[in-house]
Each structure stands twice: as structure tokens, then as C-alpha cells.
């Protein structure tokens, strides 16, 4: 199933046979398959953003039916979603998932006019972040490292640029994205809270086209076209920020910029075989005067081969290389620090459309990891820093899964799957051994946790295993159709996560490293149940879901843990538990000139780290405390209004309970230093967070029929200039000798203009 002018495959197209009251949906590669009795049928092909196609088809034998769909322009009669089409979605037991089209995302008003995928998913129910400018996102109370972020099936380790102000995704290169918050199918694993599955466009197979935009802070350009007409295509897109070039005007010699490059080659070998080669390269660069410079970013390269064994068996083989690099140079101390994580991933996924009542998905997955916690090089002979290499760590993560989607009765569909995942921590140099395998001791007199001294250091060859883990992860979802327009769904999932982001800040920073499970760190395990009610009205849809999640082995840190360049991280880690529960309501208008949604989430997310024995105090005295991203109420409203061919308007309104904070409850002086004493962790809150953003898009009428199309996007972020608290610091004002609470706000009212073009 492809888009007419570019031959770009289409994901999520509904293929409906109204007379049989059945249908299917195209997969991530635009492929669909359905088994029906012979006969003549009416078939409707429909998806948001495209004109419906209704055809008559006579089925006498196995048939390949490829189709081209035409994009619908806004002013045409709104897409008529008939009851027949909605029937399929109502029945699909997949719940807790939000699919967003890139067109919807591009219409949302954003900070500095930069369309941002991560900021858009924050508008969905169940998704929040630790604060403005926090990097990463949090799904259903989960931590930022518990999201599996896939770009064309390659794992990304850092989803943001410039400490969270921008995401790493160039919206022009993206075709489709889906966020799974629960009911995660067995084909996904490795992270316990969510899966953000993003696909890049393949590239126009018919003609050379380009898109791009020039904005206040960054610009982007993308070129796509055929290599071999109708068969092969390429796509190259780049984006770079340049705001730092204005800093010298403010007497500031610092540099902060990012750039990324998206590339893709696709080639259709024949009707049964397709090849894709995708790549992504992104970097952030910071320099502070002459003293400090910092570079970090993701690189991915993957090769995929789609192969159709038969009309019913679709397969995809991916070979993926992924690299996250982090480098730091401190010129005033004269050393370089490099760290990263590299992996090679082999995946083989099969989709078997057995009958119209049974679809099977199965496959295998193997990832080889190399964790490079860091290498320190002195940069000059006179440097006072010694060269040091923190021990590299190696691991292999494997999985195999089988899932079945079975239509049990007319009204009841089940998606049941099982995933078996294993993790082998391989040998390394310098493995520290401790007495009783205990890297942390508790000093009962001082009531503090202390690092246990290593009693021995051993080296184990990488072809041996230090420790291995295996977990069965059952996944099950049920969908029960109450009537033609409504259904109830319920799901249960168990997920295992073997790598952990070591970070004790409220949101990830670039200094954070990933650590594999092993002798001293156990994998995180989560169990989540969810129940939901889904209903379609004429132009609206309503989804109400409630969930409950428990996590075991959530890592926590001893007080004052020094995580940077720590070769024995196990000496500062404690194992705790986490839980989250909530209610999510999503009310959407999908048709007409006014479209958008209202999302409301009521939730709680907390964790606790009890002592390992009754004498130990644990963290926060073994009490539950709110996680840094716990927001009791989270309301997001987004709307887009198409007035005519020339103008369309967008608006966002967000309201959230203030984020948790730990406030001082006293002060003292030691050695002339004023030190605060603190209350229980995260027991207070900052003020409520809210802002209203507007945008207006002008498409000049002289565009019609022209090759070069441009549009102007005017946006205002934070219209009423609310100084939302990104954080509150407590410190001494040395000028007046008094203590103060100082609120830091990052974004006041920010107008922006972006010019977007395509040709």
C-alpha cells in the first residue's frame, strides 16, 4: 500500500470488507494480508489524511492487490469514517497505544517554532516529563530510561538535543510513530515502560522532491528521490541549529549547537523482496570559552530485508549497528574523557497471516553490547591528571517470541504472546570481588551506607559469562466488543529490562552512563495491568484507561553517590521498588475543520528503597517517595482549525500539578559554609505548571499549482508569559547575607517564525 505520488509505503491503512464485517491493517512496511472465501466484495481502503478508495474486487484465487492512495487536501469534504471502518479498531485488542501522524505533529505550536516529536507525545495521556527543559519523557510513572526508542528498528539512547530543549528527530524524515504505553506486544522487549516506534520515510520513488524549513533557532532540509524509477529511492535530510552564532553579540563566547543527519536508501528487488539501508547521525556540541567542550550523540546504521515467503508469510531481517558517544574535554584541567555504548543487533521478525481469524507473529532478536564507561587521557605532558581507563563491560541480550492474535468469537479477540529474554553478562578485566558479594556496607554507628573495600580483582575472558539471567515475559490483551461503536479492552504485561541508566538527577543529563545487569545489579522487572473503555461517536472518539504497574529492582543511590567516572558503580547502588497507577481519558475529534484532543491523566508514581536488613535505614528512611516526574493532574488540550486554504490555526494548553521537590527545613553553618537541612525526599511540590501556545500557518494562495510550495508558521509559546518553575534553588545571597529561595524559569513568552518549503 503506497502513497500515490511518492510510492512511500503507508502504515496503518484500514482495509475493510464491509459486507463481511472484517478487515485488516497494513503493517510497518505497508504490507497487509487477509484470507477470505471466494466471491465478489466491496473493499474500502482508508486512513487519516488520505482519500478513501472504494473498489469492487472479485476473489477467485490468491491475489496481490497493491494500491496507491492519494493524499487528501484539507478543504475537501472531511473524510467520512463510516461505521464499517471503525469496527476494526474497536475490535482490535491492542490498547494503550497512541499513533500519531507526522502531519498532526507538524501542526502543533511549539517552542521556538521547532516541531518536536517528543514534545508532541507529552500531550498524550499518561506521558509527562520531569520538568521544562528536562530531557527524556516518562510514561505511566516510569523513568526516562525505561522507554525503548526505535528509529527504523534501531535503538536510540538519547532522545534529545541541548539538554532536552529539542528532540533528535527531524520531523521531515519521519513517516509514522506509535507510542505503546501498555499492552506491549511480545515482539518488543528490553525496556519496561514504553515503546516509541518511529519509522522514517523511504524516499520518493517517482521524482526528486525536497522539503525544509528555516527557523529562528535551527533549519532543516531534506531531499528525496528515485535512484531507479519506481524501484529504488534515497532520502537525505539534515538539520542544524545556529542560535549560538548570536551569542557573541551578548559578550558570550560560548557555543551550543546540534546537528543531525537522516539517510535512507530503499530498493525493491522484486515483488517479494525489499531492501532498506537507514542511517542516523546526530551530535550536540557545547563549548564554554576555552575551558570546557562537550560532544555527544547517537549514530545508527541498519540494513533491513523484507521478504515475502508467500502471500501469508511476511518476514523482515534487520542488521543494526548503534552507537552512543559522549566526549568531554576540560582544558583547564587538561584531560579528555570519552565514553559510550555500542551495540550490534540482529533481528528476524515474521508475520504470519494464517487465516482471517488468526495471525501469528514470531521471531528472534540478539544484541551484543559493549559499554565503555570512560577513558581519561591527559592532553598535555604537564597535565596533573593520570591516564585511566574505566573497565569496559560486555553483554549479550537475546530474545525469542511468539504472539497470536485470535478472533475467538464475533465479539472477542485475544492477543496473547510470550517472550523469553535472556541476558548474559560477559567477562571483563578488573571485576571487583567483595566479602559476601556485598559492595555496600552499612555503618550502624553513623547510620550511613559506605563503600565496601574490594577484597580482590579478577579478570575473566569475554568468552565466558559472569552472570546470566532469563525471564519469561507473558503478554496478553483482550478486546470485547460491546456493540458496534464501543468495546472494553484489558491487558497484562510482564517486561524485563537488563540495562540501566545510572543517573541520580531528576532528569537525564549527558553525563549519565548505562550499566548492564550483572553480579551486583539485577534486571528490572515490571508487571502492568490495564483496563479500558473505547467508544466512537460520529466525529469523536473516547478512550478511558486505568492502569496499575509495579516495578522490582529499581535502582536507587546512596546519599552523595559520586556517579561520574566511577569504576565500581555497585558500591553506591541500592535496589528498590516502584509503583504507579492512574486513570487516563482521551477525548478526540478526528474529523472536520476543527480537530484535536483533550487528554486528562490522574496518576501517582512513587518508589521506595528499604534497607536490606531491619537495621538499615534504606533511602529516605525506607519510606515511599514521589518520583521526580509524579504529576497528580495532567491536562493537555491541543486543537487545530483549518479556516480555509490559506490559513490554519493551532493551540495547545497544558496544565500540570507542580513537580515534586525537596525543600529545606532548616539551615546551619559549617566551616563558614551555609548548609540547608532537608525534609523528606520529594515531599513538597513546586507551583502548578501551565501555559497556552498559539500558532497560525499561512499558505499563500500563489502556491496553488506551483512546484515550490512555502508556508509561514507564526507561533507564540507561553502566550500569557507564565514564569513556570523549572526548579527552585535554595542558597545564600552573599550580598545581603540572607538565604533565599530562587525560582529558575526557562521559557517566558517566545514568539517565533518559521518558513517551511517543499518542492
Amino acid at each position: 500500500m503506497v502513497e500515490k505520488s511518492s510510492n512511500e509505503t503507508l502504515i496503518g491503512v484500514n482495509v475493510i470488507f464491509p459486507e463481511l464485517q472484517t478487515g485488516t491493517i497494513t503493517n510497518e512496511y505497508g504490507f497487509y494480508s487477509i484470507t477470505l472465501p471466494a466471491g465478489i466484495y466491496k473493499v474500502i481502503f482508508s486512513t487519516l489524511g488520505f482519500k478513501n478508495v472504494t473498489q469492487s474486487i472479485e476473489l477467485t484465487e490468491n491475489t496481490k492487490w497493491n494500491l496507491e492512495l492519494e493524499e487528501s487536501t484539507e478543504e475537501l469534504d472531511a473524510i467520512v469514517i463510516s461505521q464499517d471502518i471503525e469496527k476494526v479498531n474497536i475490535r482490535n485488542p491492542q490498547m494503550s497505544v497512541n499513533a500519531l501522524s507526522i502531519n498532526t505533529i507538524k501542526k502543533m505550536p511549539v517552542v521556538l517554532g521547532e516541531t518536536d516529536i517528543i514534545k508532541s507525545i507529552l500531550l498524550l495521556p499518561g506521558v509527562t516529563s520531569a520538568g521544562e527543559g528536562a530531557s527524556g519523557f516518562n510514561v505511566r510513572g516510569g523513568a526516562a530510561d525505561q522507554n525503548l526508542i526505535l528509529l527504523d528498528e534501531a535503538t536510540l539512547y538519547n532522545s534529545s538535543h541541548l539538554f532536552g530543549f529539542f528532540s533528535v528527530f527531524n520531523p521531515d524524515a519521519i513517516k509514522d510513530l506509535k507510542l505503546y504505553k501498555g499492552g506491549i506486544p511480545a515482539r518488543f522487549g528490553g525496556r519496561i515502560s514504553s515503546v516509541l516506534d518511529i519509522y522514517q520515510k523511504d524516499g520518493n520513488r517517482n521524482e526528486l522532491k525536497g522539503t525544509g524549513g528555516i527557523g529562528l533557532v535551527s533549519s532543516r532540509a531534506l531531499l528525496e528521490g528515485p535512484i531507479v524509477k519506481q524501484r529504488g529511492s534515497f532520502l537525505v535530510g539534515g538539520r542544524s541549529s545556529y542560535a549560538h552564532l548570536f551569542l557573541p553579540l551578548f559578550n558570550n563566547e560560548n557555543i551550543a549547537y546540534f546537528y543531525d543527519l537522516n539517510t535512507k536508501l530503499s530498493y525493491k528487488l522484486n515483488n517479494n523482496n525489499n531492501l532498506y539501508l537507514s542511517g542516523y547521525f546526530g551530535r550536540d556540541v557545547f563549548e564554554i570559552a576555552d575551558s570546557f567542550s562537550n560532544t555527544f550523540g547517537n549514530t545508527t546504521l541498519n540494513l533491513r530485508w523484507n521478504h515475502l515467503f508467500s502471500d501469508k508469510l511476511f518476514s523482515n531481517l534487520s542488521v543494526i549497528y548503534s552507537d552512543y558517544y559522549y566526549g568531554l574535554t576540560l582544558k583547564f584541567v587538561e584531560f579528555d574523557f570519552d565514553s559510550g555504548i555500542r551495540n550490534m543487533n540482529l533481528k528476524y521478525d515474521l508475520k504470519h497471516y494464517v487465516t482471517d481469524k488468526l495471525q501469528l507473529n514470531y521471531g528472534v532478536n540478539a544484541i551484543y553490547y559493549k559499554f565503555i564507561p570512560g577513558e581519561i587521557h591527559p592532553t598535555s605532558e604537564t597535565s596533573g591528571i593520570n591516564a585511566q581507563k574505566l573497565t569496559d563491560k560486555y553483554a549479550v541480550e537475546n530474545a525469542t517470541y511468539l504472539e497470536a492474535e485470535i478472533k475467538i468469537t464475533e465479539k472477542l479477540t485475544v492477543q496473547a504472546g510470550m517472550r523469553l529474554s535472556t541476558f548474559n553478562r560477559l567477562g571483563q578485566n578488573e571485576l571487583y570481588l567483595y566479602e559476601n558479594d556485598n559492595p555496600i556496607t552499612f555503618n550502624n554507628d553513623l547510620k550511613i551506607y559506605q563503600k565496601a573495600p574490594a577484597i580482590d580483582t579478577i579478570s575473566i575472558s569475554t568468552s565466558n559469562t559472569i552472570k546470566s539471567f532469563a525471564h519469561l515475559e507473558p503478554r496478553i490483551s483482550l478486546g470485547y466488543e460491546l456493540n458496534e461503536i464501543s468495546s472494553i479492552k484489558t491487558s497484562y504485561q510482564r517486561m524485563a529490562q537488563y540495562i540501566h541508566l545510572i543517573s541520580n538527577t531528576s532528569s537525564p543529563t549527558p553525563f549519565d552512563v548505562y550499566a548492564p545487569s550483572g553480579k551486583y545489579i539485577k534486571p528490572q522487572l515490571s508487571d502492568q495491568v490495564a483496563i479500558g473503555y473505547f467508544r466512537n461517536f460520529k466525529n469523536y472518539s473516547l478512550e478511558i484507561e486505568t492502569f496499575y504497574k509495579e516495578v522490582q529492582n529499581r535502582l536507587d543511590y546512596t546519599d552523595g553517590a559520586d556517579l561520574i567516572a566511577n569504576n565500581a558503580i555497585e558500591q553506591v547502588l541500592l535496589s528498590g521498588e516502584a509503583r504507579a497507577y492512574g486513570l487516563e481519558v482521551l477525548f478526540r475529534k478526528n474529523e472536520g475543520k476543527l480537530q484535536g484532543w483533550i487528554a486528562y491523566t490522574l496518576s501517582k508514581s512513587e518508589q521506595k528503597t528499604p534497607g536490606r536488613t531491619p537495621e538499615e535505614i534504606g533511602i529516605n528512611n525506607s519510606n515511599w517517595y514521589h518520583s521526580a516526574w509524579d504529576k497528580t493532574h495532567d491536562i493537555s488540550v491541543t486543537a487545530n482549525y483549518t479556516w480555509n486554504a490559506k490559513w490554519s490555526f493551532g493551540a495547545n494548553f497544558i496544565f500540570q500539578t507542580g513537580q515534586p521537590a525537596t525543600f529545606p527545613n532548616g539551615q546551619y553553618q559549617y566551616n563558614g559554609i551555609v548548609v540547608p537541612t532537608f525534609e523528606k525526599r520529594n515531599s513538597s511540590r513546586l507551583q502548578a505548571f501551565h501555559h497556552l501556545d498559539l500558532s497560525a500557518t499561512l499558505t499563500p494562495s500563489k502556491n496553488q499549482g506551483r512546484n515550490w510550495q512555502g508556508e509561514w508558521v507564526f507561533s507564540i509559546y507561553n502566550l500569557y508569559d507564565r514564569k513556570n518553575a523549572a526548579s527552585v534553588s535554595f542558597r545564600e545571597n552573599t550580598n545581603i547575607g540572607k538565604n533565599e529561595a530562587v525560582k529558575l524559569s526557562i521559557f517566558g513568552i517566545i514568539p517565533a517564525v518559521t518558513y517551511n518549503f517543499k518542492f
Binding site: 553513623l446 553517590a561 566551616n671 527552585v728 540572607k738
Partner: protein
């Protein structure tokens, strides 16, 4: 680590962000005893031994209450007792010249509770010279001072570094994991420092527990509540309340060799 502070300041400078002093109602915890017991052995062999006792106060108070009615003494492992008497403002003075390799125990009796801690002398090394750069810091225009010393090789060493001047103070806790045996420096950067100002550098020898204490303490003061905040923590020192362990004191008891260097900014 200073790194986090650097990034926080950098972000504040380079964005349209703004800082605003706000009013907050904060809870008040029960007062706790704070013990600042630092016995410093000078280069010339003399010691100015004083112990300062204060209590915690509500966060926005401008003055810190001091303790005048405690009984303070230090006893060494041979049983010799050194009494300390209160002079003024919570400062207790005594006569004690610390010897190498002898354990000293601090005893404080306050409100019928006994607080104790035991430690011994930790050595330091001399500050050899100061290097001044006029193009340092984040703007590239600040005066930056580095106080150089040579770390003894092959032994784990920990230091408390101070740079004090009328324009501002800078503190750092250092461990020699990355610079063992090398010529290394303590870093001093205060915005308003100008030629003619005098900066007093002090390098104290400390042990690992003291290093952890100071590291955690400085974290509380550098960016508590900032965007890259680490979780604020109650900083536990090495002093325990023998009578009522739950009512633990704040502060630390240390005995250090100290080397000082005064420098006038060029």
C-alpha cells in the same frame, strides 16, 4: 563535582531564562546540634584548637543560635584529657598539639546527651605556587587562580581545599584517584576578584570518610533544587549521639595538617 555547577551556570547564561526570588513557607525542623571541630596543625608546629557549637535554625533566619552551655573535651588514646572552655559565640578554646598516629576522641555533653567522635591526624602537602590566568571562567574574561601542590604517589590521599577572600570563598573536596603522584591544583574562581585583592589558600589533609562528608555537604550547597539536582541529603558526619542515637548531630570532627599560601592578585 564542579561540572554540574558549570553546566547549570552555562544554561542560565545562554538562554532566555530568568531567576526570581520567591516567597515560600517552609517547615521548621527541631533544632539539631552542629559541631564544627577542626583541629589544624600548622606548618610551624603550632595549633589553634577551637571547636564551634551552634544549632540549626529555620531556613530564612538571619542569625544562627550558638551553644554556650556544653561541656567539651578531647581525650587521647593514652587517657590524657584536654578540656575546652567557652569563650564567646559558641567557640570553645583549648590547648592541644596533635601527635602523629594517636587517636583522639571528642566528648561533648549537651542537654544531658553525650556526643563522641574519634579520629587522628591526617597529613597534607605544601602549596608550592599560584598560577594566575586572566582569561578564564565561562566568559573567558575572569581571573582564574590555581594553587599547585604535589600529591604523594602510591598512597590514597584526600584534601579539603579553601580559597578565601573578601570577594568570595571557594571550597572543594579532592581525592587523588585521578592525579596520584602528580603536580595538581586547587581551583579558585570568584567573579569580582580584582588586582590587589588577597586570596588565602588553605590545604587540609583529610581521610576518606571526611572526604565523603565534605563532598556530600558541598553538593547540598552548590545546586540544591537546580535543574540537575542530585537528591538533597542529610549529611552525616563522624560524630554520634551515644545517649540518643536518633538525635544525631551535624558537623564533623577532624584533625588536619594545614598548609597555607596567601596570594595577591596581579
Amino acid at each position: 563535582m564542579k561540572l554540574v555547577k558549570i553546566i547549570t551556570i552555562f544554561l542560565a547564561i545562554s538562554l532566555s531564562s530568568c531567576e526570581e526570588v520567591i516567597d515560600l513557607d517552609l517547615n521548621e525542623a527541631n533544632p539539631k546540634l552542629v559541631i564544627d571541630a577542626s583541629i589544624n596543625l600548622e606548618e610551624d608546629g603550632s595549633t589553634f584548637a577551637f571547636i564551634k557549637l551552634t544549632t540549626t535554625a529555620p531556613f530564612f533566619n538571619t542569625n544562627i543560635p550558638f551553644v554556650a552551655d556544653a561541656t567539651v573535651s578531647i581525650t587521647d588514646e593514652n587517657g590524657i584529657q584536654y578540656p575546652f572552655t567557652h569563650s564567646e559565640n559558641g567557640i570553645y578554646l583549648g590547648n592541644l598539639i596533635p601527635q602523629d598516629s594517636i587517636d583522639y576522641t571528642l566528648n561533648i555533653n549537651y542537654k544531658n546527651e553525650l556526643y563522641t567522635a574519634t579520629t587522628h591526624l591526617e597529613t597534607a602537602v605544601p602549596i608550592e605556587f599560584i598560577e594566575q590566568r586572566n582569561d578564564g571562567g565561562f566568559t573567558g574574561k575572569d581571573i582564574e587562580l590555581k594553587a599547585y601542590f604535589t600529591d604523594p604517589a602510591g598512597v590514597p590521599n584526600f584534601y579539603f581545599f579553601e580559597g578565601l577572600s573578601s570577594k568570595g570563598d571557594s571550597f572543594d573536596a579532592l581525592k587523588d584517584t585521578f592525579f596520584d603522584g602528580n603536580l595538581i591544583f586547587g581551583y579558585y574562581l570568584v567573579e569580582d576578584i580584582a588586582p590587589g585583592d588577597t586570596v588565602h589558600f588553605n590545604l587540609y589533609g583529610i581521610n576518606e570518610t571526611n572526604y565523603n562528608f565534605l563532598f556530600t555537604l558541598l553538593l547540598q550547597t552548590e545546586s540544591p533544587g537546580g535543574p540537575f539536582e542530585t537528591q538533597p541529603a542529610s549529611v552525616r558526619g563522624n560524630i554520634t549521639n551515644q545517649t540518643n542515637p536518633e538525635n544525631f548531630p551535624l558537623g564533623y570532627f577532624r584533625i588536619s595538617e594545614v598548609y597555607r599560601f596567601s596570594y595577591t592578585v596581579q
